[in-house]
């Protein structure tokens, strides 16, 4: 197992280096002068330009600049935002819990609904439940989620007035956020109604973000179950007279879960992409909205390091999924 983990980590190194090269090169291929772009100062004198250029290291050979960039990253220095002047890493760490909370709730929602629906559809193959749920899954899979979010706002916030339109928390409440997760912090604050407010802000974005993963998980669970149900050991289990429930839950589902867990893991990258859209629609203060705002504000240090940090996060999560996969499936571990 340790060897397996080590191999996985070793495999990550080149990709991680590649990501830093992309982030490093990104600012240098932008149209315009990288010095003024990174310093955020326009119309400056040649002397100031030379000073900035030396300060940012642009007067040295490119490989030296890249090496410096890596050293600074290793020291946790991700540069400062041009707009807020704050370190990019600090901003990322304040905003990331919001995205994590949203993404986590979305994937839990998608799994809790998607897996049972997929299993039921497979057991009752060809039934009206199968047909309706799989049609719904295909619709969900084809959904432009930015539009879906707007529709939900029109209906639940506009017509029914049940949920707020944007943000994470009602302005009526104020409390410390030690964990950064609104659901937990609002409970810890002990203020009545705070948790309710946090939940009502979260529910629509979570549904929107869960839509595509839910559809994918339901479809994948159904096909994995169908495949497993045709295996010999399931037939054997049936033949020796085990109750149908036990055959499905123990013999079939356990084996079908292996590809399903991979699928759930693969959704993480997609969730980040979805989070950009969801956070924009609901003005959710997470890293997705932060990236979009930074791109349109031309805050390039944030875009550069944000890209790096988000890709790094996705890689870490993917690694964890890979390890879980190896943990539940010995065949992978011992290959």
């Amino acid at each position: 197992m340790i060897r397996f983990i080590f191999n996985k980590l070793l495999y990550l190194v080149p990709t991680l280096l590649g990501i830093t090269i992309v982030a490093f090169g990104f600012v240098r291929v932008l149209p315009g002068d990288p010095v003024t772009l990174l310093a955020g100062e326009r119309g400056i004198s040649p002397e100031r330009h030379a000073q900035l250029s030396a300060q940012l290291g642009f007067d040295r050979p490119i490989w030296e600049q890249y090496f410096d960039f890596l050293v600074r990253l290793a020291h946790g220095d991700f540069g400062n935002s041009l707009v807020t002047k704050k370190p990019v890493l600090d901003e990322f760490l304040t905003l990331f819990p919001a995205t994590l909370e949203l993404a986590f709730c979305a994937i839990v929602l998608a799994t809790l609904i998607g897996v049972p629906v997929g299993v039921l559809a497979a057991i009752k193959r060809g039934s009206w439940f199968d047909q309706i749920s799989m049609t719904a899954a295909l619709v969900g899979f084809s959904m432009p989620i930015f539009w879906w979010g707007l529709l939900l706002i029109i209906f639940f916030s506009g017509t029914l007035g049940w949920t707020p339109v944007s943000g994470r928390m009602s302005l009526m409440f104020y409390f410390d956020t030690p964990t950064g997760f609104m659901l937990i912090d609002s409970l810890l604050s002990g203020q009545s109604g705070a948790f309710r407010s946090a939940l009502s802000h979260l529910v629509l974005p979570a549904i929107v973000l869960a839509t595509i993963p839910l559809a994918v998980i339901a479809r994948q669970t159904r096909s994995a179950m169908l495949e497993v149900m045709g295996e010999d050991y399931v037939r054997t289990a049936r033949a020796k007279g085990l109750p149908a429930k036990r055959v499905v839950m123990v013999h079939a589902l356990r084996n079908a879960m292996v590809p399903v867990i991979t699928t759930i893991g693969l959704q993480v990258g997609l969730l980040m992409a979805g989070a950009i859209l969801t956070e924009t629609i609901f003005s959710w203060p997470g890293v997705g909205k932060w990236m979009i705002d930074s791109i349109s504000r031309r805050d390039y240090p944030v875009v550069q390091s944000g890209l790096l940090l988000i890709a790094g996060m996705v890689m870490i999560v993917n690694l964890l999924v890979d390890l879980t996969y190896g943990f539940i499936n010995p065949r992978i571990r011992h290959k």
């Binding site: 990104f26 432009p144 930015f146 539009w147 990258g269 992409a273």
Partner: protein
């Protein structure tokens, strides 16, 4: 013995294959519905100037935010109503279909061509060439696709062409991976060795001998990418990084309509519905294609 064997010409074999494919495809009702909707969409896009009742950009200043025909206060001139500056929503949707289909076709062609070439080279050459190409693909895949596309658009500048290039770059690794895997499976088969012994050069081996036998998964992936490309281009348009106003691109229309969501539901609803229906139709077709082309699924 000889009278039972049947000699088929190449043309006959090809016709038989197409007939087989059509037989399998037709069994999937959803796929046929998808194909019909898609064909309709293509026809609408081609004949947009003839079908559309109004121009896509003409502003009727006397008819701002007119609701669709079944609501109170509707104007019979505008079936699906007008937007905030008095443009006919239906006409804009009809012209918008051109953008979506064009984006899908261009993105898939660019990504497919790039992916096939890289995948063939990686799979055929092996060794360090393979390692380098596949590592670069891994790096592209490590970024969330929409985020990478956004950053690429930030580099290239917002606009439809750049959005298409960005999406194609982001999609291309999937094709490269598929091609490589298929090539690795095929390149040690007897027919490839036979062709090599007969004196076929590496280019002929790659493109003429091996490639046609790897096409099935690529076609399925191409349909899937087509629908994702339509979605992602609309998303970029929605975020202000794709087609720029006043282009009647569906995502861009949604972005313009956003501020009216609680006042005029139709300017938000219809463009999104158009995106959903087109993407759904293409995905239905994709499912049918996969069932018909994948012999493993066919038998079960």
């Amino acid at each position: 013995m000889s009278d039972t064997s049947l000699q088929l010409t190449d043309g006959q074999i090809r016709r038989k294959m197409i007939a087989d494919f059509w037989f399998d495809f037709r069994r999937n009702k959803g796929a046929v519905v998808g194909l019909c909707v898609f064909t309709l969409l293509v026809l609408v896009a081609i004949f947009a100037p003839l079908v559309a009742p109004h121009s896509a950009t003409l502003q009727y200043r006397d008819a701002l935010l007119v609701p669709p025909f079944w609501s109170d206060g509707a104007d019979p001139r505008f079936l699906l109503g007008t937007d905030a500056v008095g443009r006919d929503v239906l006409s804009r949707l009809i012209f918008g279909s051109r953008y979506s289909l064009f984006i899908g076709v261009v993105v898939v062609l660019v990504a497919l061509t790039g992916g096939i070439i890289l995948g063939l080279i990686a799979g055929y050459c092996g060794k360090w060439v393979d390692t380098v190409i596949m590592r670069v693909m891994d790096i592209i895949l490590a970024f969330p696709s929409l985020l990478l596309a956004l950053v690429l658009v930030a580099i290239l500048g917002p606009g439809l062409t750049n959005a298409m290039i960005a999406i194609a770059i982001v999609y291309q690794p999937h094709f490269a991976r598929l091609t490589r895997a298929a090539v690795m499976g095929e390149k040690n088969r007897e027919y490839v060795t036979a062709a090599r012994l007969a004196g076929a050069g590496p280019l002929r081996l790659m493109f003429k001998t091996i490639l046609p036998n790897c096409l099935a998964p690529l076609i399925v992936q191409a349909t899937l990418s087509f629908s994702s490309a339509v979605l992602d281009a609309a998303a970029l348009g929605f975020l202000g990084m794709g087609a720029q106003p006043p282009a009647p691109e569906w995502g861009t229309m949604l972005a313009e309509a956003r501020e009216f969501i609680l006042r005029a539901w139709w300017v938000v609803t219809f463009p999104g519905l158009a995106i959903l229906i087109s993407v759904l139709a293409i995905n239905l077709m994709g499912d049918g294609l996969r069932d018909a082309l994948d012999p493993k699924l066919k038998r079960s």
